[in-house]
Symmetry: C2
């Protein structure tokens, strides 16, 4: 397993948090089992077993040997042990505390190209707002920027500086007078 990021552990625990799947693990730990056989032993229908096996396979916990139309499943115990290690050393445990990316961070990550420029300006108004807010870090409070400089700053991210400038003013992030711009205090910015 890669590193113990919260998503990986969560997927693992979700897979194990079901009685049918736990019992399947027990059964395929003993020896190879076919879908039919498992359905019989667990008193479930075959599609249900198939569904559970798919969940376990997605985590690479099973080995499948195909023999004609029969699929023989057995446990890959290393899979289990990988998760074991990941979970129970303290370093990884506290790593769970690290918050996930927020929605805004994800939006930014999605629109950012490797060179740091924006792929496009999002069509969604709310996403555009996130990206404009993000670009405000290019402006210091208390400084005055001629239009030419504003454009230069914005074009580091996307060529359509005019649109971005206009919307920043609309959201009250920037103010303008006589073609000179300045950053407004963050608590005055409007919400999307």
């Amino acid at each position: 397993m890669p590193e113990a990021d919260i998503a990986t552990l969560l997927a693992f625990f979700k897979a194990m948090a079901n009685e049918s799947r736990l019992r399947i693990i027990g059964l395929v730990a003993e020896r190879e089992r076919s879908v039919q056989e498992l359905a019989e032993l667990l008193d479930l229908k075959e599609p249900t077993v198939s569904h559970h096996l798919a969940a376990l396979k997605a985590l690479d916990l099973l080995h499948v040997r195909v023999e004609g139309v029969t699929h023989w499943h057995r446990l890959r115990p290393e899979g289990l042990h990988d998760f074991n290690r990941a979970l129970f050393d303290q370093k990884d445990l506290t790593a769970l505390a690290k918050p996930e990316q927020t929605w805004e961070e994800k939006v930014i990550a999605n629109f950012l190209m490797p060179d740091g420029t924006l792929r496009t300006l999002p069509a969604s108004r709310r996403k555009r707002w996130v990206l404009l807010k993000w670009q405000m870090s290019g402006f210091e409070e208390g400084r005055r920027y001629p239009e030419k400089e504003v454009n230069a700053i914005l074009q580091r991210r996307h060529p359509d500086a005019a649109t971005m400038r206009r919307e920043m003013i609309g959201w009250k992030m920037l103010a303008r007078e006589d073609n000179v711009y300045w950053r407004l205090p963050e608590d005055q910015w409007e919400e999307a």
Copy 2:
């Protein structure tokens, strides 16, 4: 933790199979946290956090220190390690395959005292039937038992041999002639 029965493990995995609870674990692993604080960090409302904490407390994974109206929660790492051990040694793993106790096995377990004798003869006719059936293992087919021997066998489990003997005959588990008893074939026993 006691032994790794499937119900215990299932409860543990269900508790861990939730992102909010995983992140709570990460946060309380670092240091003590109040409900408020967790709600803030996780961007959840307090009742939700309270609910998750209750789930973790039910598994004895948390330690709580009450200070005025504030409840400080921290992780009890031993709790985690107990589950760890239970899960990941192979012996316990295959134990998952063992089917749950049937109703009959539970009845027997409930009436059996540590020394192997019966606490009482159940009042319920159906439970009494289960326990009599179970005691039939003391009799071999094809052998003839004088009444004295029958009593001796039955009294290993409960002093009231007369009642048990009489009911075994009623259920056609035992037959009698001239004060000599013998076991009847299992497919002739009557159902409760």
